[in-house]
Symmetry: C2
Subunit: 245 residues, 2 copies
């Protein structure tokens, strides 16, 4: 995923009105491995206000380490990627076109070194056209044509989620989603089912078809060892039917 | 993307404490084309409170049309996908394993018909183990091993973003991110650069290499027609240098 020699993009929030949104963005940054928060014209961020209240564990580092700077300094020091709702469909509306989607950025940015900042604008009006004109490239989140305008915190979360590969070596999730049971064990499962079909006097001419269906079901489910062991135990008890004793 | 005959998954919010989070989720639902909101044990949703305040345009439909139901009814009526933070790495912790990532769900769900609900739990404790036991399958968002626990509204936004293909035919974005300028026009751009190199007496032995670099730059940028036309105009003026007249 990420190159350890490379700094993940900074996140710049321009002119946010709500401290809660700054806190939410800080939390999402920490969730996805980002740490450098830049604030242009921020609201007051009180230690006992909404910014710190919404920041989760990011109240310990991302938020108190945030750097305040002006917009010109931001565009001078960083390659800036402005995140903005694109609603027009006209390539002559040059200010917001061309754009990349977050997934496309995730594909391209790892091949480019140099300080980069993801720039998010105000809650209601986003980035002004004047600000957009000073920005190097644009990013827009694909959403519903009926209502493509995301809340500021939600937009930042989606972009940071898509770009997490620039900031994280891996994730909290195990490398495999499931440790598939060994085939021999799964075969024992099918053996047990065959025994049970015999025991319950399932019509012999139907057994092959039924077994094929069972294989399809379990095959699609990609059972873990624990799951197979559990079902095997159930089938064994069903075959033995202890209550008959 | 989505099949018009198929209903997108419902979104179920279980035991949320904050009306604002319910509103945020409703807004994200509308952003990504989802409409069926199910509420188990919801907080009060006042028309002039945070739920409606945070819902954006979803205050007009998703939120007022939300259905309240109990958890048992939810699991009986829907194939339930519980969204939960997975932090353990042990496939014997059966309750939260196996899981799918949102991207994997986006890949698999289009091939399955039938009523489905994405289930989100409480702000602090998520879904209880008892609730998880009644749920059909699990989904977990890959995040930082240091802090994988997303805010409720952010988690729902990421999942709905990834699954938007189940709910939307397309997006607000133009089909192409940029309409690449016709090759003949781009060739005129290179022609103008060659003229300019001659005009500024760029060393002839360096021109080929310089032109190659310019082609690489513009090639990577995949210029639009408008962009080429603009740069052509600039180069023409640079060649003509009207101030010399």
């Amino acid at each position: 995923m990420s190159d350890p020699d490379r700094t993940p993009p900074a996140v710049a929030v321009v002119g946010a009105e709500s401290p809660g949104n700054v806190g939410t963005i800080a939390r999402s940054m920490k969730n996805f491995g980002f740490s450098e928060l830049l604030l242009v014209d921020p609201p007051e961020l009180d230690l006992d206000g909404e910014a710190y209240g919404f920041a989760g564990h990011a109240r310990e580092d991302v938020l108190p380490n945030a750097e305040e700077l002006d917009f010109r300094t931001l565009t001078e020091k960083y390659h800036t990627i402005g995140c903005t709702a694109v609603t027009g469909e006209d390539d002559r509306r040059h200010v917001r076109f061309p754009f990349s989607t977050p997934a496309e950025l995730a594909d391209r940015l790892p091949r480019v070194a140099g300080p980069t900042a993801l720039v998010f604008g105000r809650e209601r009006i986003g980035l002004t056209n004047e600000e957009l004109a000073g920005i190097d490239e644009l990013c827009s989140i694909p959403a519903s044509p009926d209502y493509p305008v995301l809340n500021l915190g939600q937009a930042a979360t989606v972009v940071l989620y898509e770009l997490r590969g620039l900031a994280l070596e891996g994730s909290q999730l195990p490398d495999v989603e499931r440790a598939r049971a060994p085939p021999e064990l799964v075969d024992r499962l099918y053996g047990s089912w065959e025994e049970l079909l015999a025991e319950i006097e399932h019509p012999p001419e139907k057994r092959e078809k039924t077994m094929r269906m069972l294989r399809r079901i379990y095959g699609r489910a990609e059972l873990t060892e624990r799951e197979v062991t559990t079902v095997l135990g159930l089938l064994r008890r069903a075959v033995e039917r202890p209550d008959r004793g």
